[in-house]
Point group: C2
Chain length 202, copies 2
DNA sequence: GCTGTTATGGTTCGATCGAACCATAACAGG
DNA sequence: CCTGTTATGGTTCGATCGAACCATAACAGC
C-alpha cells in the first residue's frame, strides 16, 4: 500500500516506540530490532524513515521536543483569557513535573538521553535552549507581578525565577523516582509560589 | 603475582573505569571489553571480581554510593567544631552540586543510571534512601535554627528543606548541562539560604 | 619442597547488533 | 495501460557482545 503513507504518522509511531523502550531501560534498549518490534514494523522501515540508529535517536528526540513545546502552549492557552502572572508561572512550572503520563514519559526520555547531551552536539542542540528560556519567561512574569503589586519589590526576580525552575526540576526527579507523588510536588510548588506572589502593601 | 592482590583496590580500579565510561556515553558504553580496556586489565578479571555485567553495574554503583557518603561526612567534619546550622545546611546542599571533579563525576554517573532505578529493584535499593535522608537532615537543622532564633518561626521547616534539596538537584542538572557555572549555582543556594536563615527579632 | 588455592591472561561460542542489500507490491502520472 | 517512484518485507554480513571455558604462574601452608 505505497504512495498513501502518512510520513509524519509513521515517524511518530516509530518515535513513540523509541520513547517506550528508552523509558523502560535506557538508550541501551533502543536497538533497531527492538524498536521495530515495539512499533510493529519491519527493521527496514526504521532505516527508511530515520536512517541510521544515531539518526533515529536524534529524530525521536526532536519529535519529543516539538511535542513538548506544542503541548505546553496548548495547556497554557487553556488557562483562559487573562490568566494572571501567578497562574501562568504555575502552569509553566507544572510542565516540568510528571503530573500525567504524557509528561512523565517525556521527562523520563530526557533523563535517558541526559549524559549524551554532554558529549553529542547534535543531541544537545535539540534540548539546549528550553531551560534558559523557561527561566527568562518566569523572571519576566515575576517582574510584571512586581509592577502590578502582586510581588514584593524586594524579591530578586531573576534569582527567584531560576530557583523556582531548578526546584521544579528537582521535584521532577523525586517524583519520577517515586519518592513523592506528583500532587505533593504540586503542593510544594504552590507553597513557594504563595511566598513569591504576596500582595504587597503600598 | 597472586595472593598479594588487594581486592578492594582492584574493585575500585575497575569501578572507576565503569564510571568514566558511563559519564562519557551512558551505560551503553559500559561493555565488559571497554571496561577492561579502560581499567587496563583483562576482561577475565572483571568476571573474577564482579561476575556478570549486571553485577558489575551494581557493584560499581555501590562503591560510588559508599564513596559519596564517606566523602560527604569528611567534608562536613572539615567545617570545624561548632559549625552552626546555616553552614551545615550549606555543606549538605553543596554535596548535591558538581563543584569539583569528584562530585561532577558522581552525579553524572547517577544520571547515567537514572532510568534503571525505576525498573531494577537491586539498583534502586542502593540509591533510594539518600534524598529523603537529606531532606530530613536539613529539616531538622532548620528546626534547630528556629529554636536558636536564626530562622523565623513562620517558615515551614519540612517544606523549605524539601524545596532547598529539590532546588539543589535542579541546579545540579543545569550545571552539568553547562547552562551555568558551579559558582553561580552556589551563589543561588546562598541567596536562598540567606532568605531562610534570617536572624529573627524577639 | 610439595600441593592446593588464588589471581590472572587468553580463547571461544552462540546471540545480537547496525547496516547494507535484494526484492516487490501498490499506486501516480503520463 | 504502461512506467517509474514509493513504501515496504526479508535476508545477510562483519563486528561486537556477555559469558563460559582453558590454562598457568605465583604464592601460602604444611
Amino acid at each position: 500500500m505505497p504512495r498513501q503513507a502518512d510520513h509524519d504518522r509513521r515517524r511518530r509511531q516509530i518515535a513513540e516506540a523509541v520513547w517506550r523502550l528508552a523509558v523502560g531501560g535506557g538508550l541501551e534498549e533502543v536497538t533497531l530490532r527492538q524498536v521495530a518490534a515495539e512499533a510493529q514494523v519491519s527493521a527496514r522501515l526504521l532505516q527508511y524513515y530515520f536512517g541510521t540508529r544515531t539518526d533515529l535517536l536524534l529524530g525521536a528526540l526532536k519529535i519529543l521536543n516539538d511535542d513538548a513545546e506544542h503541548r505546553a502552549r496548548e495547556r497554557l492557552a487553556l488557562l483562559g483569557e487573562t490568566p494572571g502572572m501567578h497562574a501562568i508561572v504555575r502552569g509553566v512550572l507544572l510542565e516540568l513535573l510528571p503530573v500525567d503520563e504524557e509528561r512523565r514519559t517525556r521527562h523520563l526520555v530526557y533523563a535517558a538521553y541526559f549524559v549524551r547531551f554532554l558529549t553529542d552536539p547534535d543531541l544537545a542542540g535539540v534540548a539546549r535552549d528550553a531551560p534558559r528560556a523557561l527561566e527568562d519567561l518566569v523572571a519576566g512574569l515575576i517582574t510584571q507581578g512586581q509592577d502590578t503589586g502582586q510581588v514584593p519589590r524586594r524579591v530578586d526576580a531573576a534569582a527567584e525565577a531560576a530557583f523556582l525552575v531548578a526546584g521544579a526540576e528537582g521535584l521532577q526527579s523525586s517524583v519520577l523516582l517515586g519518592q513523592r507523588t506528583a500532587d505533593e510536588a504540586v503542593a510544594m510548588i504552590d507553597h513557594q509560589l504563595a511566598r513569591v506572589f504576596t500582595p504587597t502593601p503600598a
